[in-house]
């Protein structure tokens, strides 16, 4: 009996192993898009892109250098840096509600250490910044250590412990600054300087200490000591250890001239890049090439991850690829060399042709050709007969076309030149509002009760559909009323156009995806049709839009997207898709995608950071970029590396995901968590410092209540509230989403009273989108 059992079990496991070799039943092969979606930050990135496009279309500053600098500024510090640190802590399974208050507290502490004593409005201890920085850092780390240790030793929820820290900090900030200064703000870091000067024993040099550093100045022959003291000084406290007479002829005027020479520290924490000071006429060249090369690399990366590598590479593809690249370069040159409409068209067409040729060349070089088309046609014939899939394709494509037509109709109906409130156009007291809310009600009810609807026509209307229909109508009524009242016609037109064309794109792409599952040629044909409709849309935008931004930028972008879609469709027909993983190809693809993203980022950065002479002459508004942005990028990069590549990163995931298990295998859980708290307070210190260098006056209330924004940014970026999963890059993107929501409303000139409604809606939408994408991706695993 027992032997029998063993042999059965053995047979079973052998069978299972065999199954595995053939392709695991639970490990279905995931396509390239699905594989990308499993990263926690991808959902957030897509949401961020969507929000950007939305505000870009409805506001003036978005897409301009000034708008971009504002978004980067809000996103970077305090929000971004703190969101990244808080995301790390949340991945480690803890919260820090004192993080916001700590930013203000540490900034105030640093300032008070440096400021010198000048009566009631001054205050502070007059330390050198070189001493104050390490001291306040120590205090910051002490705060983090305290939070972490109390959480670990008492095993209380970090929520409670850090809430207590929050109140203590909040109170201390107010009480302390008022005790010292008699007011609720502590002034600025750099407006007061105490300077000490020491003459050395030989009388050959003077050592000058100011709050920003130490400098040794040699005294040339024939000069007195006072003559070499740098002219940077408002207040002198010359400490004359030796040779007091050397300073006897001190001329106060010497010390009030010149720049303040803050030096290294100011460069480090407060440097700014003023765009209008940097002219580069070749910028647009660089920009165009960067964008085109980047997009192309991105598409090639998708190729690499999507298509099957051929066993023998075909060398004739390479020269074709090179020729295409050369052709595209010529096209860019044509585009910039001429200024006429015809010239631009020729340039654009040459670029497109070049891209097409190079993509085909690349494909010929690397990938396996598709099996004969006849077979596919057969498959197509049989698959299209499959009723259910046919319905799916038809519904999706139909929805897409309807939205497409709707976008055009709505845009034609609304007059762009009119800046009246949308409500006036529609006549809110008339039929408009009830009609629109009825449509929304039916729409939502149909979406949520879709099965009932398709099953029996308007059957839902008599059944459970009512349950969703009535509330939907009410919500639709309220939403449309608010929306109509808030938006001008021009805004409404842009909003309708963007959302309907997005819907059209989603519908058509869904149709393409469903069709491709069964037949590649059908999918490709649909994709080409979609590309064509995007192109039609582009021309429509160009002819109809009242906004110059739309007529040029949106038009170009849409045409490029259409071209890339068409190229992709053609490539799908030519080459065979992969059905088994190929890690080598994936790695190469990821590398190409990264290089491509870098090219795009560099291209955009060049456009943001430099002006052309023409722009200067047109008196475009100035834009400033601060070193704070670099700190944010640096901090995010370091944290991401630590999280992904170090022991500490692994342990962070482990203590957040399953602390018991982590302990069991020897991870020092308590230490890891404490260090995470210290990381957060380090970030708060850095942010406090950046604020201290930036603001005219730090308020005692600085940062209070901001901690929830950090947490929200982290969650929007895909970090789980329960710990153990998340991404610092996601948190950084989350910070961008928050910044865009905050900046978008005033940029679009919407009523600021409604601001938090919009912020809330955007956050909800992005989290839902993020979650939806992730569950889709996880389900595919």
């Amino acid at each position: 009996m027992s032997d029998e059992y063993v042999s059965d079990a053995a047979a079973a496991t052998t069978r299972m192993a065999a199954d595995r070799q053939a392709g695991d039943e639970r490990l279905a092969y995931r396509g390239v898009f699905q594989r990308m979606l499993t990263r926690p930050e991808i959902g957030a990135a897509i949401a961020a892109l969507g929000i950007w496009v939305f505000f870009w279309s409805v506001s003036v500053p978005f897409g301009k250098a000034g708008g971009a600098s504002s978004i980067l500024d809000v996103a970077s510090s305090p929000l971004g840096i703190m969101a990244v640190a808080v995301a790390m802590l949340m991945i480690g399974g803890e919260f820090d509600l004192s993080a916001g208050a700590a930013t203000g507290a540490l900034g105030i502490l640093t300032i008070l250490m440096v400021r010198e004593v000048v009566g009631a409005s001054g205050g502070g201890w007059g330390l050198s910044l070189w001493i104050a920085l390490p001291l306040s850092l120590l205090a910051a780390l002490g705060l983090g250590w305290f939070n972490g240790t109390v959480v670990e030793k008492t095993a209380l929820p970090s929520f409670i412990v850090t809430l207590a820290s929050f109140f203590v900090l909040k109170g201390a900030k107010l009480g302390y600054s008022k005790l010292i200064l008699g007011q609720q703000q502590v002034g600025k870091l750099d407006d007061l300087q105490s300077v000490s000067a020491f003459l050395d024993d030989n009388g050959t040099s003077v050592t000058v200490f100011d709050p920003y550093g130490m400098e040794e100045v040699f005294i040339p022959d024939g000069q007195e000591a006072f003559q070499v003291v740098p002219p940077v000084i408002d207040i002198i406290e010359a400490n004359l250890d030796a040779g007091a007479d050397a300073f006897a002829g001190l001329d106060p005027s010497v010390f009030e001239q010149g720049d303040k020479g803050y030096g290294f520290m100011v460069d480090l924490f407060a440097a700014e890049w003023t765009r209008n000071d940097h002219v580069w006429d070749g910028r647009d060249w660089f920009y165009t090439i960067g964008i085109i090369a980047g997009l192309s690399l991105f598409v090639l990366a998708l190729y690499e991850m999507h298509f099957k590598r051929s066993d023998t590479q075909n060398p004739t593809g390479l020269p074709i690829f090179g020729g295409g690249v050369a052709l595209a370069t010529v096209g860019v040159w044509r585009l910039h060399a001429t200024d006429s409409v015809a010239g631009n068209w020729i340039g654009a067409l040459v670029i497109l042709a070049g891209m097409f040729v190079s993509f085909v060349g690349w494909g010929m070089w690397r990938y396996r050709r598709r099996a004969s088309t006849e077979q596919s046609m057969d498959a197509m014939a049989s698959e299209v007969g499959d009723a259910e899939s046919k319905t799916g394709v038809i519904i999706a494509v139909g929805l897409g076309i309807a939205a497409f037509v709707g976008a055009i109709v709505v845009s034609l109906w609304l007059d762009a030149g009119d800046s009246n409130k949308f409500a006036e156009k529609l006549g809110i007291s008339g039929v408009g509002l009830p009609a629109v809310s009825l449509v929304i009600g039916i729409g939502v009810a149909t979406l949520t009760r879709g099965k009932d609807f398709t099953a029996g026509g308007l059957g839902w209307f008599t059944s459970k559909g009512w349950r969703t229909f009535l509330p939907s109508i009410i919500i639709g009524f309220v939403v449309t009323m608010l929306f109509f009242d808030l938006t001008t016609q021009q805004g409404a037109r842009a909003i309708f156009f963007v959302s309907l064309s997005s819907l059209a794109a989603v519908g058509l792409m869904t149709g393409v995806r469903r069709a491709r599952k069964h037949s590649q040629p059908l999918g490709s044909a649909l994709l080409i049709a979609t590309a064509a409709s995007v192109a039609v849309m582009a021309f429509f935008v160009q002819s109809e839009s009242g906004s110059p931004k739309f007529r040029t930028q949106a038009f170009t972008l849409m045409l490029v997207i259409a071209a890339l879609m068409a190229i992709w469709a053609a490539a799908s027909l030519l080459f065979e898709a992969r059905s088994a993983p190929d890690h080598g190809a994936d790695r190469f693809g990821v590398m190409m995608a990264l290089v491509g993203s870098a090219a795009i980022v560099v291209g955009i950065a060049s456009r943001l950071l430099f002006v052309t002479t023409a722009e200067l002459e047109a008196e475009i508004p100035q834009a400033k970029f601060s070193v704070r942005i670099l700190w944010f990028f640096l901090f995010t990069a370091v944290c991401s590396w630590v999280l992904a590549r170090t022991k500490f990163g692994s342990w962070t995931f482990a203590v957040g995901g399953n602390k018991q298990a982590a302990r069991q295998v020897g991870v020092p859980a308590a230490r890891t968590k404490t260090q995470l708290f210290m990381l957060v307070s380090f970030a708060a210190w850095l942010v406090g410092l950046l604020l201290a260098f930036r603001l005219n006056n730090i308020q005692a209330s600085t940062g209070d209540g901001e901690e929830f924004e950090y947490i929200i940014a982290a969650v929007v970026g895909g970090t789980l509230l329960t710990g153990g999963y998340g991404s610092t890059i996601g948190a950084a993107i989350g910070a961008f989403i928050m910044a865009m929501s905050v900046q978008g409303i005033p940029s679009a000139r919407w009523n600021s009273d409604w601001r938090f409604v919009f912020v809330g809606a955007i956050l909800l939408l992005s989290v839902v989108a993020n979650n939806f994408i992730r569950t889709k991706a996880e389900a595919a695993r």
Binding site: S59, A120, G123, I180, Q183, L695, T702
Partner: protein, 346 residues
């Protein structure tokens, strides 16, 4: 490792303590330098107590009570200075009762003042619902009542002689006239709080008096100045026609200047209330003016009025409120005001 951690903590505490200690002695030193600062230090010490008797009267037996929602911040410390100065000038005893934004405490203070047989009560009215009743009792008890700072809508109902303060609407109108004079055509009225009636009234006053367009927006809290600066920038960028900015507080006004500088735009900028920052900016000409409530008057005048009513049966105001503002600080008087701010009377 563990020991090292404790050492770090100890060190941090030691440093912190040393730093605090150092600062205390610094303050004292500073206080020795200027008489105004030493007053301040004394006031700070005394402010710790719940109630404080400022025994300044010389020979007079009148006792006045000043009951406010004061938090002894920069604003109220000036009011207190004014009241003390007036008490000293006319020779009465003044009891300063700071409610610290707690109406419940103010009710208790009013009842205390009544039972102490006060000769005059001056009270602010942050929440009329709770305070009108007790003050009416005071009037019924035959005590002269004045309202100050807030309470312009309710002093008649109480039966108070008059109200001493500034109405935000009129202050806003004053700002509007300044923008008219400066030749602005489109002013952004930027608020630092979203639901503060006082700030809304400032903007409404501006809209009323200003001949051009007014855009009234909330642009971000003082607690997040990064967001505030960029909120202003967003609106300025979205609307090129804006050529004036009125910040409804001192911090936001200076941030409006930062935003304009960042964008390279030249705006006529005005603000409300006084801080060293905004005075510096006015002195340099970057900000055109700030609206000053002159809160010193809100402390000084009620005491003098109560004295005159008690000793000479004078009633000022003629049933209308007495306005302490708007006063304006402009490049012309900034230097003079700066010195007074340092002394704590502006």
């Amino acid at each position: 490792m563990k020991r090292f951690k404790w050492l770090t903590l100890l060190l941090a505490f030691a440093l912190f303590a040393a730093a605090c200690g150092g600062s205390d002695s610094d303050t004292t030193e500073a206080a020795d330098d200027t008489p105004a600062a030493s007053d301040d230090a004394a006031a700070d010490d005394a402010a710790v107590e719940e109630e404080e008797d400022v025994a300044l009267s010389q020979g007079s037996d009148l006792t006045f009570h000043m009951i406010t929602h004061s938090d002894d911040g920069p604003f109220w410390s000036v009011v207190k200075k004014g009241a003390e100065a007036a008490a000293a000038d006319v020779g009465v005893e003044l009891v300063w009762m700071p409610g610290n934004n707690d109406p419940g405490q103010m009710v208790i203070d009013i009842e205390t003042a009544i039972s102490d047989g006060s000769d005059g009560i001056a009270s602010s009215l942050p929440s009329p619902d709770q305070l009108v009743g007790p003050l009416q009792e005071a009037v019924a008890a035959g005590i002269n009542v004045y309202t100050l700072n807030s309470g312009v809508n309710d002093y008649n109902e109480i039966g108070a002689t008059t109200h001493v303060g500034q109405t935000e609407f009129i202050a806003g109108q004053g700002a509007g006239n300044r923008f008219n004079a400066a030749g602005a055509t489109h002013v952004l009225c930027g608020r630092q709080e979203q639901s503060n009636v006082g700030l809304d009234e400032r903007c409404a006053g501006l809209e009323d008096a200003f001949s051009g367009t007014v855009t009234n927006e909330f642009v971000g809290l003082d607690a997040d100045q990064t967001e505030q600066i960029n909120g202003i920038k967003a609106i300025l960028e979205a609307d090129e026609s804006i050529d004036g900015f009125l910040g409804t507080g001192p911090v936001i006004a200076v941030n409006g200047l930062t935003a304009a500088n960042d964008l390279g735009r030249e705006l006529v900028i005005g603000g409300f209330d006084v801080t060293p920052d905004i005075i510096d900016a006015i002195e340099s000409g970057a900000i055109a003016f700030t609206v000053d409530q002159q809160q010193y008057l809100q402390g000084y005048l009620p005491v003098v009025l109560m004295f005159l009513q008690a000793t000479n049966q004078n009633t000022a105001g003629g049933g209308l409120p007495i306005l302490t503002g708007p006063g304006f600080i402009t490049p012309d008087n900034a230097a003079a005001v700066k010195a007074l701010v340092a002394e704590g009377t502006r």
